[in-house]
């Protein structure tokens, strides 16, 4: 494995937006010895690589709390190396890998394996969430303590939720002795069954089994009752309905340690997209209605959303070319996430750059309690440099991800990541 190289980088005249420290100013940044060395106007350094960032945004590297890199087990869809390359191309300097691999990450050696592959890939920082239950089967607790010692920062059975209320109560109680977050893919199977899209008129017309919003809301509501007994940190993954927003609002008002994340697709797309049985729009939780999209945007505006997360879920083209019912759920979206968030939030007047970047930097860092998402002198130099206004067309042939299951292919988007610096090293440069 290559030795870390201390690179001197001088970023000139960029608009530094560092929401954690309430900074939004045009300045220079000198990176040396893996860290932010100096911030100020008119900096110079003889042997530094100089990046002219005039008219560009310089921000703490982005953090994605929800990605699927498919390794171990489904390396033909994605590997930790290809996923990491996609991440830095999207401006992400830290990502959290979900445990629903094959075999699942449900014990410490698997956690260590993912970390090791991440270090070898040498692109983005990799954090790991372990499974709450053995084999993600929802029956017996996995070794939450040992995984936590191996570096897992949280736990989830993502892909499905823990169905049994007794098991979930035991999980939150047990995990509360460690400094970890319990995350949940909220979906009550008895309501969702074999649903393939949002339950509603569209599903009725297409003759597809629906997933009622209640499937998400019932489990979210249940979990919030459970954590009242433990005060463990709880994170609701990819919330998608207006009802979930109400539940989160209430929980936060009560002062409970509850956080949530929202995906780009739930902010931009509705069930209407499914009209043609296009499986690139098959995702779980399913695309909902405009009313739900509006509620999620309101939640962002109110500050209820702690993190924007992609749920990057790569799949083979051959799997997505199946009947809608048979095709797997998921959207690959790391490489165009930032401009999608911009389109959904900034262009719609929901929030400004600083507020949006907060949900991509220090706020998600807070959800998993890592010391990231800030760009003050002395901080580790995880940086993204963004051209905010350049327009580009999403082209799957340029993806670093191995997969193409992306409904945004062909979309014209504004904002592009130019450089991604991880621990003081330039790990991504946009092709010019």
């Amino acid at each position: 494995m290559a030795k870390p190289v201390s690179q001197k980088i001088l970023i000139k005249n960029g608009r530094l937006i560092d929401p954690k420290n309430s900074v939004d100013t045009v300045t220079d940044i000198l990176i040396d010895d893996f860290r932010v060395c100096r911030i100020g106007k008119g900096l110079s350094s003889p042997n530094a690589e100089v990046i002219d960032a005039s008219g560009k945004i310089v921000t703490p590297g982005l953090i994605d709390l929800h990605v699927h890199f498919r390794q171990p087990g489904d390396e033909e869809e994605e590997t930790i190396a290809s996923g990491s390359a996609a991440a830095v191309a999207g401006g992400f300097t830290s990502v959290v890998c979900m445990p629903n691999t094959n075999p699942p990450v449900d014990e410490a050696t698997a956690v260590e394996f993912v970390h090791r592959m991440g270090r070898q890939a040498r692109k983005t920082f990799i954090y790991v969430m372990g499974a709450i239950t053995k084999d993600r089967a929802g029956k017996e607790l996995a070794e939450i303590g040992l995984m936590s010692l191996a570096g897992a920062i949280g736990f989830t059975d993502d892909g499905c939720g823990v169905q049994d209320t007794g098991v979930m109560l035991r999980a939150v109680k047990y995990a509360s002795m460690f400094d970890v977050v319990i995350a949940q893919h909220c979906e009550d199977q008895s309501l969702a069954r074999h649903g393939a899209m949002n339950a509603g008129y569209k599903a009725t017309v297409l003759g597809l089994p629906g997933i009622d919003p209640l499937a998400e809301e019932m489990m979210l509501w249940r979990d919030i009752q459970l954590i009242k007994k433990t005060r463990i940190r709880y994170h609701a993954q990819h919330i998608s309905t207006a009802g979930s927003v109400r539940i989160i609002r209430q929980a936060k008002a009560e002062g409970l340690p509850v956080t949530c994340e929202v995906t780009p697709h739930h902010l931009l797309l509705t069930e209407e997209s499914v009209s043609d049985y296009n499986t690139n729009y098959k995702v779980n939780p399913p695309l909902r209605t405009q009313k739900d999209v509006d509620a999620l945007k309101n939640a962002v505006q109110e500050g209820l959303v702690d993190a924007l997360a992609t749920d990057h879920a790569p799949h083979l083209q051959s799997e997505k070319e199946l009947e809608f019912l048979a095709a797997p759920c998921g959207i690959a979206g790391l490489e165009c996430a930032l401009p999608l968030y911009r389109k959904a939030l900034i262009d719609e007047g929901i929030c400004d750059w600083s507020q949006m970047l907060a949900m991509l930097t220090w706020r998600p860092a807070g959800v998993i309690r890592v010391d990231k998402g800030s760009l003050a002198v002395g901080d580790r130099a995880d940086v993204a440099i963004i051209d905010p206004d350049v327009e580009w067309t999403v082209d799957a042939d340029r993806f670093f991800s191995k997969s193409r299951n992306c409904p945004y292919i062909g979309w014209k988007l504004k904002s592009k990541v130019l450089y991604t610096i991880v621990a003081g090293e330039i790990r991504y440069r946009a092709a010019t």
Binding site: R193, D212, Y277, L322, F324
Partner: protein, 314 residues
């Protein structure tokens, strides 16, 4: 002939895609094929040299035979492909199967599949014409067409008729195709069944909904009794067969309160004594066998029209 409506669809996926005029064009075309069955030589050279494949991924006797017969009466060669598999994701994919058949020079693919959207997927992936013979609980367009054909044959028109469709609406492709065809032709449709067998947001369809057959039976001109498809019912949507029959079965007793000339329809196969009593199914108001006979003419019309559109497209 100077027909106003031109048929332009190379595929028949569903009736929700069609205009009233297009539906009427199919029915009029079917009318011209109707007398075929009475000829001594029941064959026309219309599709000579064309190859039709019946791709049936679900059990079917009536629909498959009807398509086979319709194709052979038009002198097409017919390949039968039957594969009932519960898991569509195992083995060769649908698209690969179809592309292989297409490589053998197939012109029309008639597909029956348990997954809604399978014919649409196919139509995007191959060049042959695709005719939907029923997909999941999306649509069963030829059934919808033969139903309205039968009503039109008996009543001249559907304009203003009150039609009840009774049973498992949620899992019925027939109900969906019927609703589109019947309402486009001017009928008022009421869907009747327990709430557990109604699909989500059913009220957004251009229909009325009733949970009480007895409350509406008197006003109906036509009643279509759907088959209870036990294989498709999830969970336990009604407590027992006898309770279902009690509230939603078409009994002689209920027939006493219906209009004298009510048309009784059923897409088949019948569960005698469950959704419909034998005496009703075999009684004077029943047009169930007429539906089957008309299915042939309607399917001949569909095969003919999609081939025409395909030829025009070049």
């Amino acid at each position: 002939m100077g027909r106003k409506t031109q048929w332009t669809h190379k595929h028949l996926i569903g009736l929700s895609d069609l205009t009233r005029e297009e539906i009427e064009l199919i029915l009029d075309t079917a009318k011209s094929f109707e007398e075929f069955s009475t000829r001594s030589i029941k064959k026309a050279p219309t599709l000579r040299g064309k190859v039709v494949v019946n791709m049936f991924f679900e059990d079917s006797t009536r629909t498959r035979n009807s398509f086979t017969l319709a194709a052979s009466r038009l002198s097409a060669d017919v390949i039968e492909f039957t594969k009932t598999s519960s898991s569509v994701s195992k083995g060769e994919t649908l698209i690969d199967t179809a592309r292989n058949l297409e490589a053998m020079g197939v012109d029309i693919v008639v597909i029956r599949h348990s997954a809604g959207g399978a014919p649409k997927l196919l139509s995007r992936s191959i060049n042959a014409c695709v005719v939907n013979a029923g997909d999941g609980y999306h649509e069963h367009p030829t059934q919808g067409l033969l139903d309205v054909y039968t009503i039109r044959q008996m009543r001249g028109s559907l304009e203003g008729l009150k039609i009840g469709i009774v049973g498992d609406i949620a899992h019925s492709r027939v109900a969906r195709s019927d609703v589109y065809a019947m309402t486009k032709l001017g009928a008022q449709v009421t869907l009747i069944g327990p709430p557990t067998l109604m699909p989500a947001s059913v009220c957004d369809l251009p229909v009325k909904v009733s949970y009480n057959l007895d409350a509406v039976i008197e006003e109906l001109d036509v009643i279509n009794m759907l088959r209870i498809q036990f294989e498709r019912l999830g969970g336990n949507p009604f407590p027992s067969v006898r309770e279902y029959s009690h509230f939603f079965g078409l009994t002689m007793d209920r027939m006493q309160r219906a209009k004298k000339d009510i048309l009784v329809m059923h897409p088949g196969p019948i569960n005698r004594g469950l959704e419909i009593e034998s005496e009703v199914a075999d009684g004077p108001n029943s047009v169930i066998l007429r539906q089957v006979a008309n299915g042939l003419a309607v399917r001949m019309a569909v095969l003919f029209l999609v081939t025409q559109a395909s030829t025009l497209e070049g």
